[in-house]
């Protein structure tokens, strides 16, 4: 196994008395699609917050591409090549879809302090945005205000903005939340497409999606990872069955 692209080593996180993340060790292989599953309240969102820099771990370290990113702020973590999406859609509602993506893309080109050129004339940026729009199938919604999109369109936009900074590692937090069967299938295809050549860490509750998409799965229960392995290994794991999947086979 090559060096992990994202590595959590002995990571703990407590909020006062509540010990949410307990000694998590997780190595994500470059290029893999790695799912994190677990019951509600297991700490999956907190794990994402730790990786993306919203919280600093109480103990332990996090490495991205060999660099120690423990305790870095979200903006810095992003600049090191990790981007995350949000479970509750976190877009720019009052501007167009095009603008949403453009704001996300501009950062990569280091344009944030440019006040002497029109944004409309940034050819490469605009091309990348058009490209994203095509991938997200939002091209004909480009000039619509983001607040007026349907729920699943907004979820697509959410994913698109995560992708826009061209990250090496993408964290998707329950991207299928609230979607119909059709929308879920479509989004799964989208995820497969956009994560080519990148590493994906995904939290999802929809087991069919997880088992279809993921190369490997980690199971988080009460802040601890009780198992990591391929979908088959996880399906067969007794501890996992007992803690999470219950009687039904996935």
């Amino acid at each position: 196994m090559s060096d992990p692209i994202l590595s959590l080593q002995h990571v703990h996180k407590s909020f006062g008395e509540a010990h949410i993340i307990r000694d998590v060790n997780l190595d994500v292989i470059p290029g893999e699609r790695h799912a994190v599953i677990g019951p509600n309240g297991a700490g999956k969102s907190t794990l994402f917050h730790l990786c993306s820099g919203q919280f600093a771990p109480s103990e332990g370290r996090i490495f991205l591409n060999g660099k120690n990113i423990t305790g870095l702020k979200p903006a810095e973590v992003n600049r090191h090549g990790l981007a995350r999406s949000f479970q509750i859609t976190n877009i720019f509602p009052g501007v167009t879809v095009f603008e949403n993506l453009r704001l996300a893309v501009m950062r990569k080109h280091n344009l944030q302090f440019v006040f002497w050129r029109s944004a409309a004339h940034l050819r490469q940026v605009n091309e990348e945005v058009d490209d994203l729009l095509t991938k997200l199938r939002l091209t004909d919604r480009a000039q619509t205000l983001a607040s007026q999109l349907s729920y699943s369109e907004q979820r697509s936009l959410e994913i698109g903005m995560t992708l826009a900074s061209d990250p090496q590692v993408i964290l998707l937090d329950e991207p299928m939340a609230g979607m119909s069967h059709e929308e879920t299938d479509y989004t799964a295809d989208l995820i497969r497409e956009i994560t080519k050549g990148r590493t994906l860490l995904i939290v999802e509750h929809d087991m069919s999606v997880v088992f279809a998409l993921a190369h490997r799965i980690s199971v988080l229960v009460y802040g601890e990872i009780i198992a990591t392995g391929t979908p088959d290994e996880i399906r067969g794991n007794a501890r996992v069955k007992e803690a999470y999947l219950g009687e039904e086979a996935a």
Partner: protein, 408 residues
């Protein structure tokens, strides 16, 4: 809004020929309207586009004003800063002040940001009287406009055109700025600063820069005022200047690009026109603001744009009819309210109180009639008309709502 460029062209044309259309006193008011419009546009960048509500913008207006006055005295209209270029120094000092203040203010967001901006302005206002070399103490600092570039700058027309050119240029620059990456990021700050951080942006730096740009244009407006009145006094740092720009901008509508400018111009115009007629103009300004916030939350321009974008299902004639009836009923209510307020103001004024003798309350003159305060007449008219207007407006609203329901 296909007609927008045409409207703009006509407006600019009117502004250019204005000196030949209006009296001297109106032209003077026009200069103040332009300055207020520019100040409001500067505020609008920070507040409407970047979503950062500043309650202390007078500080940067004032800094620009004093910088200009000092420059006028130092350069005497020539050298590095001839008279027409004086606003540059207002902009430069506004920019520096904005960078400094922005650095502190943007460490917090939302209401905290607003409180900090207010505190910083009050700090400057408290320090100013003590720094006499800079702010000139109670009397302030005065100067003279000197000729430059073959123009005298002695008369009102010259001042008007100088102000007009700078205002139009600055508003144009603000428009172009809104199209640049930094300008677009301002919108990002307003819409979702949190997400911007996760996209890799340093939101503190962005906020500080936009604050500085806003302060820069506020400084230009301040400089224009100094040039106009040939003086600067530390009262320009007072809170009511900061208050006025907030009220004006929101009355115009901060989410529409030219909204703040319209608000600033309209309110300044009203202030000019009514300042001889009433002593409580500021009260009216406050009441108008509260009413606009309650019933026209997007501001005048904002509501206009919204209705233009989403016209109601009714035909033009009916919409116009409803509008006219609404305006009529509101006019009645407004007349009644103004009558009552003006009557009260005169009744409670120190001069009147001095006139009251044992049991004898003299008549008060209002709208060329004499009214006895102890009789029912003035109160019936004032409160009665107000009540009538409100009742009519409510009736109209109910009928419109019923019509909409019937159509749905």
């Amino acid at each position: 809004m296909k007609f927008a460029p045409l409207f703009l062209l006509i407006s600019v044309a009117v502004l250019i020929v204005l000196p030949w259309l209006v009296s001297g006193s109106m032209l003077n008011a026009a200069v103040q309207m332009l300055i207020a419009a520019l100040f409001a546009m500067a505020f609008g960048l920070l507040c409407g586009q970047a979503g950062m509500l500043s309650f202390g913008h007078a500080a940067y207006f004032g800094i620009g004003a004093f910088a200009a006055v000092h420059a006028m005295n130092a350069f005497g209209g020539e050298g590095l800063l001839p008279t027409p270029l004086l606003p540059l120094v207002g902009g430069a000092t506004g920019l520096v002040g904005g960078l400094l203040a922005g650095y502190f203010s943007t460490k917090r967001t939302g209401v905290y940001f607003a409180m900090i901006t207010l505190a910083l302005a009050e700090l400057l206002h408290a320090l100013a009287p003590h720094l006499k070399t800079v702010f000139g103490g109670e009397a302030g600092i005065s100067s003279f406009r000197m000729p430059a570039w073959g123009i005298g700058f002695g008369g009102l027309n010259d001042v008007y055109f100088l102000t007009l050119v700078w205002t139009l240029v600055c508003i144009g620059l603000l428009y172009l700025f809104s199209k640049t990456p930094l300008g677009r990021l301002a919108l990002g700050l307003r819409e979702n600063a949190h997400r911007l951080r996760f996209l890799g942006y340093n939101t503190n730096a962005l906020g500080t820069l936009i604050f500085a740009v806003s302060a820069m244009f506020a400084g230009v407006a301040g400089a224009l005022q100094s040039i106009n009145i040939e003086a600067a006094n530390y009262v320009v740092l007072e809170s009511h200047i900061s208050t006025a720009v907030v009220l004006n901008s929101y009355i115009g509508g901060v989410r529409v690009f030219l909204g703040p400018a319209i608000g600033g111009a309209v309110m300044t115009f009203f202030g000019h026109v009514t300042s001889d007629l009433t002593r409580v103009w500021l009260l009216y300004q406050g009441i108008i603001f509260v009413l606009v916030m309650m019933f026209l939350p997007r501001g005048l321009m904002g509501e206009l744009v919204e209705r233009a974008r989403n016209p109601s299902a009714e035909g033009v004639a009916q919409t116009l009819g409803t509008l006219l009836m609404r305006l009529a009923s509101l006019a009645i209510a407004a007349f009644g309210a103004v009558f009552t307020i003006e009557f009260l103001q005169r009744l409670l004024s120190p001069e009147y109180r001095a006139d009251i003798t044992e049991g004898n309350w003299p008549d008060i003159t209002l709208f060329s009639y004499d009214w006895a305060p102890l009789s029912i007449a003035p109160w019936a008219i004032g409160l009665g008309l107000f009540g009538l207007g409100i009742a009519l407006a409510t009736l109209i609203n109910r009928r419109v709502a019923a019509r909409k329901e019937a159509q749905a």
